[in-house]
């Protein structure tokens, strides 16, 4: 029998441990392995798809749920430069089995995340990941807000769950999450009910933060958002989004810009609300908000309103979120690639 030297033994042990560690960091491939996702850049930082529905829309009615779902599929395919519609979904959600979709339903049915958008995302998840819709939870802070935005509460029935943090048996986490200046309880929907979350906010003007989109929508995850509106919500928005659980479980942003409130927000004001029939889709929460902000500024200019900066409320939280201290995404035209899709 060959004797193993001490050096060989130690080297072997180190190699074995290294191999095991490396193996544990590689996510296991999804069951449907005929799609090769290994070549896809899954992070797509600084990439935003602007999806416009310009086809035949009946009068004031926006795109249907089916049209929206089709658009999101095309948008993600474009974002990933993928050959098929399915591979981006598997790249984004390689191991996820349960999904929470955070809406923003603060401002009633005229200025909340459209149910058609939320349900279209569920349709896509169902089709491309072969998951049951019951594994999806569409949610916001309160059932009252969801209902006022046109959602039908579904606690236990078939189809996606449509519930809120104030639904009986949900509530907030038992312990505080601290990050920077933020110290909050988190909705148990995001801590306990799903392992990943999709941010589906409404794009609108905000009297304090300037813009309410993807990053600001996380204020609906915490129990004490009222504490974090000082100094134009900065750096609080970045702090909340940097909470490790929120940051690590975030997968995708689908910003509802079908109608956009470009002034007078966050509440609905008919005189400053514009029908844009647009969605902004990205994996970069800062970049998608930056493009949303530019969209709001363009609408303000078109309607003779001054830039947000002149009103002293441009969204400084975006720059903070993009700063090296946070590294939540990209900020500025030079660092963001906008991909246009029309349907």
């Amino acid at each position: 029998m060959r004797r193993i030297s001490r050096r060989d033994f130690v080297t072997g042990i180190i190699q074995t441990i290294s191999a095991m560690t490396l193996a544990s960091t590689i996510p296991s491939l999804p069951v449907h392995s005929e799609v090769n996702i290994s070549t896809l850049d899954t992070r797509k930082i600084g990439h935003v798809v602007r999806l416009r529905f310009t086809g035949k829309l009946q009068g004031s009615v926006g795109p249907s749920r089916r049209t929206i779902a089709a658009g999101i599929r095309v948008a993600l395919q474009k974002l990933f430069d993928a050959e098929d519609e399915t591979s981006p979904w598997r790249a984004i959600f390689p191991q996820d089995k349960s999904f929470s979709l955070k809406t923003n339903c603060l401002s009633g049915f005229r200025l909340s995340t459209s149910p058609d958008v939320s349900l279209a995302v569920v349709d896509c998840l169902e089709q491309h990941l072969h998951i049951s819709p019951t594994n999806c939870t569409i949610w916001d802070r309160s059932e009252r807000e969801l209902e006022s935005a046109g959602y039908h509460i579904n606690r236990t029935g078939s189809g996606p769950k449509i519930i809120a943090t104030d639904t009986e048996g949900i509530g907030y986490s038992g312990s505080l999450y601290m990050q920077g200046n933020a110290c909050s309880l988190l909705s148990r929907i995001i801590t306990d009910h799903a392992r990943c979350w999709i941010n589906i906010p409404k794009l609108k003007d905000h009297n304090l933060s300037g813009v309410s989109g993807c990053l600001k929508n996380t204020f609906g995850v915490i129990h004490n958002p009222n504490k974090y509106h000082g100094n134009h919500c900065d750096p609080y928005v970045a702090d909340v989004n940097a909470i490790p659980l929120i940051r690590e479980r975030f997968r995708l942003a689908v910003v509802d810009a079908l109608t956009v409130q470009y002034h007078g927000g966050p509440g609905y004001k008919a005189e400053w609300c514009s029908k844009e029939n647009c969605l902004l889709i990205s994996r970069d929460p800062v970049a998608v908000d930056y493009i949303g902000w530019r969209m709001i500024e363009q609408l303000r200019k078109t309607h003779g309103l001054p830039p947000l900066e002149m009103e002293g409320r441009h969204p400084i939280h975006l720059q903070t979120a993009a700063s090296p201290a946070y590294g939540l995404g990209k900020y500025g035209e030079a660092d963001i690639c906008v991909l246009e899709v029309e349907l």
Partner: protein, 381 residues
């Protein structure tokens, strides 16, 4: 021996029965209050006071020095005042989240009807964010995140009578943000025998405070430190408005006491305590009781050590040297600093253990030994 023992047992039995029936009736009332809340709409709100529409439907809240600008559908920093279509509403009027019958000493108020009970209630929210808040579960929550009772002012007064409470204390969280609830309770005509008191951080604007003052019988103010830096860093507040509130109290006829929670290394330096107590003597007088209480790790300061007792004793000594006559230790049950001494003859007047009065020798507000008047609000004998 048997006879004595039997008498003792009977007495104990009766005493316990009285206590138990009191507790049961209180629980029943509280439960009933809870049931009423369950039947009520979660949307219950009342129009708030002290605000102004500043543009379109953006409101400026003028209740506290924050002067929150609140857009439609949004709430102020406190989380309990909401803008709906350009009108400002309070969401906590008549909706306490907790109600208890506490010893008045727990507030702490040591010179206000000692040995009596206060019906103590809290509503959700606060206009500060103290990293050491002992009641953060309610003070840092919004009303809809907590159980809510429905206790309008008239029922509050009835409940205080039924539970043998001599006062109603708005406490635990910050009462200022339940301003309309306090005012409506204090303005009830049918309460000559029930005092209304607030346990507050004093972070309120002068105008609403002047409006509230005539309706109050007693106030306890938390003076959380004596530097703007401490207020900004650890409370997300400001010191100056709190000092203004203390001066306003001094000019009123309302009884008030001051509490400072000492936190080792943060607000307990000799310099800071000296400056604080000198300011207090000059601006609010030497008769105002000042309590230095002990910090215990909690909320965002779980890693900070409890205050050393000798730090509290040192603060008391500095205050006495500065000329304050009634200085107390707090959160150190059994400490001699809980006792009220006559400032003239130094005899013990009120002995306490924690929140409980062991003996009270004050007669009609005077020391029984030397006749010195002891400032406060006392039972007449």
């Amino acid at each position: 021996m048997i006879s004595t023992s039997l008498r003792s047992t009977r007495r104990t039995f009766i005493a316990r029965s009285v206590c138990a029936s009191g507790c049961l009736s209180f629980c029943a009332l509280a439960q009933r209050a809870g049931m009423l809340a369950a039947e009520s709409s979660p949307e219950q709100r009342r129009q708030a006071s002290h605000w102004k529409r500043i543009r379109e439907d953006v409101i400026e809240c003028r209740l506290c020095p924050r002067l929150c600008n609140v857009a439609d559908m949004e709430r102020g920093y406190c989380g309990v005042r909401e803008n709906r279509d350009g009108t400002y509403y309070t969401l906590v009027h008549s909706h306490p989240c907790t109600v208890n019958a506490d010893p008045i000493e727990k507030k702490p108020l040591f010179h206000f009807l000692p040995g009596t009970k206060a019906l103590s209630l809290a509503t959700a929210g606060c206009n500060m964010l103290c990293k050491f808040c002992q009641n953060w579960e309610i003070s840092q929550s919004r009303p809809e995140q907590l159980p809510r009772m429905q206790l309008p002012p008239e029922k509050l007064i009835a409940l205080s009578r039924q539970t043998g409470c001599r006062s109603i204390a708005f406490t635990y969280s910050e009462p200022i943000i339940a301003y309309e609830y306090i005012l409506d309770t204090a303005a009830q005509k049918e309460r000559p025998d029930v005092s209304v008191i607030i346990i507050s951080n004093g972070f309120i604007n002068p105008e609403p405070f002047q409006e509230l003052l005539p309706h109050l019988q007693s106030v306890k103010i938390d003076l959380k430190g004596f530097t703007e830096t401490f207020y900004q860093t650890y409370c997300d507040g400001r010191l100056r408005p709190v000092l203004d509130t203390l001066v306003a109290l001094r000019k009123s006829n309302v009884w008030f006491e001051i509490v400072t929670l000492l936190i080792s290394g943060l607000n307990d330096s000799e310099k800071e305590i000296t400056e604080m107590t000198r300011w207090l003597k000059e601006h609010v007088g030497c008769d105002v009781p000042v309590h230095f209480t002990r910090f215990h790790p909690t909320f965002q300061m779980k890693d900070h050590p409890p205050t050393q007792i000798r730090s509290i004793e040192r603060a008391c000594e500095i205050a006495r040297v500065a000329g304050l006559k009634f200085v107390y230790t707090g959160n150190v049950p059994g400490h001699p600093g809980e006792t009220t001494l006559c400032p003239q003859c130094k005899t013990s007047l009120i002995q306490r253990y924690g929140h409980f009065v062991k003996s009270n020798r004050i007669i009609n507000g005077k020391c029984p030994d030397c006749g010195t008047t002891i400032p406060g609000r006392w039972e007449k004998v």
